[in-house]
Symmetry: C2
Subunit: 328 residues, 2 copies
Amino acid sequence: MSTAEFDLIARIRARVASRDDVVLGIGDDAALLQVPAGQQLVVSMDTLNLGVHFPEDTAPADIGWKALAVNLSDLAAMGAAPAWCTLSLSMPQADAAFVDGFLDGFLALAQQHAVALVGGDTTRGPLSVCVTVHGFVEPGMALRRDAARVGDDLWVSGTLGDAAAALVQWKAGAKGGQSGLSFAKGHSDPLLLARLNRPTPRVALGRALRGIALACVDVSDGLLADIGHVCETSGVGAQVDIDALPASEALRTVFDRQTRHGLQATGGDDYELCFTASPDVRDAIEAASRDTTTAVTRIGVIVATPGVTARTAEGAWSAPAAGWVHFS
Amino acid sequence: MSTAEFDLIARIRARVASRDDVVLGIGDDAALLQVPAGQQLVVSMDTLNLGVHFPEDTAPADIGWKALAVNLSDLAAMGAAPAWCTLSLSMPQADAAFVDGFLDGFLALAQQHAVALVGGDTTRGPLSVCVTVHGFVEPGMALRRDAARVGDDLWVSGTLGDAAAALVQWKAGAKGGQSGLSFAKGHSDPLLLARLNRPTPRVALGRALRGIALACVDVSDGLLADIGHVCETSGVGAQVDIDALPASEALRTVFDRQTRHGLQATGGDDYELCFTASPDVRDAIEAASRDTTTAVTRIGVIVATPGVTARTAEGAWSAPAAGWVHFS
């Protein structure tokens, strides 16, 4: 293939939707954008690298979806409304078929959240996708990591451990000599795999929690690690009830209780929201959950003693391995 | 090395400056930022990959400087005032010494332009630097590519061809069996090399040209190619006087006229501003040049016939090679 960068950009530009607040999108040195009066700008940036953040044989559409999803998840964790994104796509060679597939996933999710792709670049290099997302939130309404208070309930959305379980299966399959996402016999589970490749950013829930929840983080590094970030920033601690962690039917079917607990507590990559709130607003949180058709589960409490402790009915619980740490 | 991502982020966070309009910077799921009332947001994103955008042995501080410079240059080409940036840094392993050196260059330039680093990520992968910059411009005042008009003067800032000349020297040195930036004997030129590794984004000039210049682009792909982008977007053509292209003393000393012309017209990577303006405002442009101590040179005119033509005193001039095209 020998398509020039300009052709790839034209290919991308032909497919992107716009918004009224995009004054000038793809095609100039920079995008011109209009932030609504009375709103603060919310910006996050995350990169996915081949072999680090997605397995070798991941479908281009799944890479596209996930690259935007992990960024939208950061906006969700702030309670922000997504608006725009920029995309930097590095590829070993200009591959129009890859770009088309990538856009299928990327733009499908963008459309769900009315996000306009307004700029970026395509360039030569090892496969890597960097996305910056922009959203809005009213001053003082953002859900920050530093707002947890002693006595808060600790909540989490959706189910935990599914993405990590799919990765375990993928590795087992790979070890068994099978390539890519064809798992070893008896271990393939499309529901878990969908959670790894097509995470659902909890944007609607994050929006609904403004003014109700206090601190919030998205679960990317692993539940206990991410709760640790909130606690450290807020100057508090947390007690987590491992038995209460929500598990999908698929996860319960495939893994025993002990393995499941490890995946749920430390797996990461689920992109659920973990948040704290006063016990006084439990009804409001249940209402937000119903309104956004996003399950939420109480999984612990915020305490004064620093650190994150976890327990089951049998007593103290220790993670079998650390959460996902880059460079470890 | 086995420093965790969190340690690298802490290392970065400890060194960044803030601004009054940064409500929340590094350390949460996203940054919270306040765009001034009455201003539009200007956003650009560019990636530099090892071996594609900078040679293997480039010093970390130069990589840091250049990664921000190429992005600020895009803001300059819009006439925007820089404000914030985010940084995604991929490295094969967590290398604190590399990060420290990288920040030396990156933050030195950020400080010059009062740009606050407000977020991003560090991750494992082949060496790659992705930066998104944010700035402001008043509605209707941006210098766009689509605003060139027939009869406009064509201008360029600074000098052309220096960065490409340094790269030619570097390649010659590399071919001569020498590694990195030690050029073959007689070919090393620190002034040219500085232009390749430490480009100067023409931010002040871009700001001063608001309301005076019409179309503008920064010269990254190569002068004629970038003028071509302006012409295509504006629905016009251009005639370029190759003899008029500004050359540095260093370039004149090292290369003959023919080679120099090729480097100036197609070399790219100089990050000068190329802009159009009515002949009626020549005095205002000279004043903007003086006020910002940035040389400007008239190099041609905008015409009705589509396409970019170039000539010297001897007649029509053709580029010896295409401008810099990724994936070619």
